[in-house]
Amino acid sequence: MSVFKHEYSAYEGRVTRRWQRIGVLVRYGLAEAWSSRITVGLFTLAMLPVIVDLVAIYLANNAIARIMVSPGAKFPLEIDAKFFLRVLSAQCWLALVVNAWVAPRLVSFDLADNALPILLSHPISRFGYVAGKFISLFSILSLVTWVPCLLLFAYQAYSAPQPWFGANMHVGFGLFAGSLLWIAIVALLGLALSSWVRWRMVATGVIFAAVFVPAGIGAVVTGILRTRWGLLLNVPVMMTEIWQRMLGAPQVMKADMELPGMAITLVLLAAMTLCVALLNARIRAREVVRG
């Protein structure tokens, strides 16, 4: 590219629309995330279970393969809601790992060198900034969760005899909705915690801790007090219950330990509200010192 040295003048040409500036944040966020080899490695790791599941679906629907694997007996693997619950759970927990690595990369670089005053001095709002980072994270986590899950579902629908798809459409919906809910929770959690922790590796650890430490405390509360309400601190248990209900899979927990849907919804809403409050407090061009 030729570079012209000239007297600097105001720009009079075409400008992009304001909503497109969020797209700029998304593009640079994605580039930042994928510039790391570890991101590529984690993504590859997250695809391994999908390949195994793909082979399982193929075997389950191929008559010759069924005979070869278990001649004269019932094929050991049934492709149903329970199978897809296991697929969704595996992908969502891998998505948490990807999120714990990527979310700090999206935010910490901006905060480490105090870039927010410059970023927000451009025609982009605080909401736009967070939305841009959220969409970047959403895109990456989608590639690990609902996209492969729905591709597997589509392949099963294609391979299985026709009534299967009609009878299991709710599973496809459950895979999509369950993934979206999980992405929303972990992406908000990742961005909120990354905005408060300046060091990326520490932020990664804090994201894991935010999920599993309360779960441990909840298990202790449940064990000591012999109450199911301690499970409300246990995100893995709550999410498994939600996914199971969305997919219409068989009950995982004992009946007396089952949590009411309303209680789970309220806890998750409270957690997401807290994350939004953390972001609102931290994503500012200027901090105001009280007193």
């Binding site: 600097y8 500036r21 700029v24 670089f109 001095s121 025609p123 200027r286």
Partner: protein, 313 residues
């Protein structure tokens, strides 16, 4: 239409009134914002950018309200903050391009102007290096490059020469003078270094304790050819100064018996000797000199403006 208009602007932060009833209009092509530390210079800039909402009054940039039209204002402004503010992990050209795209430039144009801006500020040779490896002076320049890459109508620079060695400082001042000379971009420079402001700006706004102490057009002052007289005296000068003020002189007293005054046409130097004799003051030395920004600033600091009142210089 002025570049910046303030009408009773009041900003309260953390329970404190930081800006108190600022009223004034600035029309210069290079405006200096002066004041001691804590006077409210950075808060005023942050308010113009829409980072802080006024608790009362209005601040306008190019006629646009900073509270309701912040996006439109930001499209027309380039901002260089006082402290380090960059993405250290990015190369210089990528960072400047990113900022230009956020300002609304299409991707290709942003890349082209990023290269040009970096060459303009003198970072052309290091534009592919990560910013975290830059020296302090380079970091100041990359902030300037990102502020001007999208071709704003007004550059807001908060302490642009902070932390620079003399050569880098001179280079920054020369760059800003070049921008001013080009004429299509206005400058608003906040600094407590009077010399920097005097070299670059044609108009100054002086803040003191959150209030507007003075607005002064340096160019007009320079053009007015008013001769100022500096007198070195021995003795009690308070009564002497009061007598000169009664006769229509503008008078500022300093330590060690130094008095700076502006004489109206009706007063002669001889009258100074008469007044000195009457008040028991010995005049040891008189010399005529033109008013400097330092004098304007010191007088503004001497005077105590009331809320919303503008002190005439």
């Amino acid at each position: 239409m002025g570049v910046i208009e303030l009408q009773g602007l009041e900003v309260r932060l953390g329970g404190r009134t930081v800006l108190n009833g600022l009223t004034g209009e600035l029309r210069g092509s290079a405006i200096g914002l002066l004041g001691p530390n804590g006077a409210g210079k950075s808060t005023l800039i942050n308010t113009l950018l829409g980072f802080h909402n006024p608790s009362a009054g209005v601040a306008r940039v190019f006629g646009m309200d900073s509270r309701h039209q912040r996006a439109q204002i930001r499209e027309r402004i380039g901002y260089m903050p006082e402290n380090d503010s960059f993405i250290g992990n990015m190369s210089g050209v990528r960072f400047v391009r990113y900022m230009a795209e956020l300002a609304g430039l299409p991707s290709g144009v942003a890349l082209e102007r990023a290269h040009e801006a970096l060459f303009f500020v003198g970072l052309g040779e290091v534009r592919y290096r990560k910013i975290s490896t830059y020296s302090l002076g380079m970091k100041q320049l990359i902030k300037l490059a990102q502020a001007m890459a999208h071709g704003p109508r007004l550059l807001i620079l908060d302490e642009p020469t902070n932390g620079l060695d003399p050569m880098a400082r001179q280079r920054m001042i020369q760059t800003l003078r070049d921008i001013r000379a080009a004429g299509s971009i206005g400058l608003l420079i906040s600094s407590h270094l009077l010399h920097d402001i005097e070299e670059i700006c044609d108009e100054v706004m002086i803040l003191k304790q959150g209030r507007l102490a003075a607005i002064c057009n340096i160019e007009e002052e320079r053009r007015s050819h008013r001769n100022f007289i500096e007198v070195e005296t021995v003795g009690q000068i308070d009564a002497f100064c009061a007598a000169l003020r009664d006769r229509g002189c503008e008078c500022a007293c300093f330590s060690a018996g130094r008095v700076k005054l502006v004489m109206p046409d009706t007063i002669e130097v001889r009258d100074l000797y008469v007044a000195a004799d009457q008040h028991g003051v010995e005049i040891r030395r008189i010399h005529r000199r033109r008013d400097s920004l330092e004098d304007i600033f010191l007088r503004a600091m001497d005077l105590e403006p009331a809320r919303g009142e503008l002190v005439r210089i």
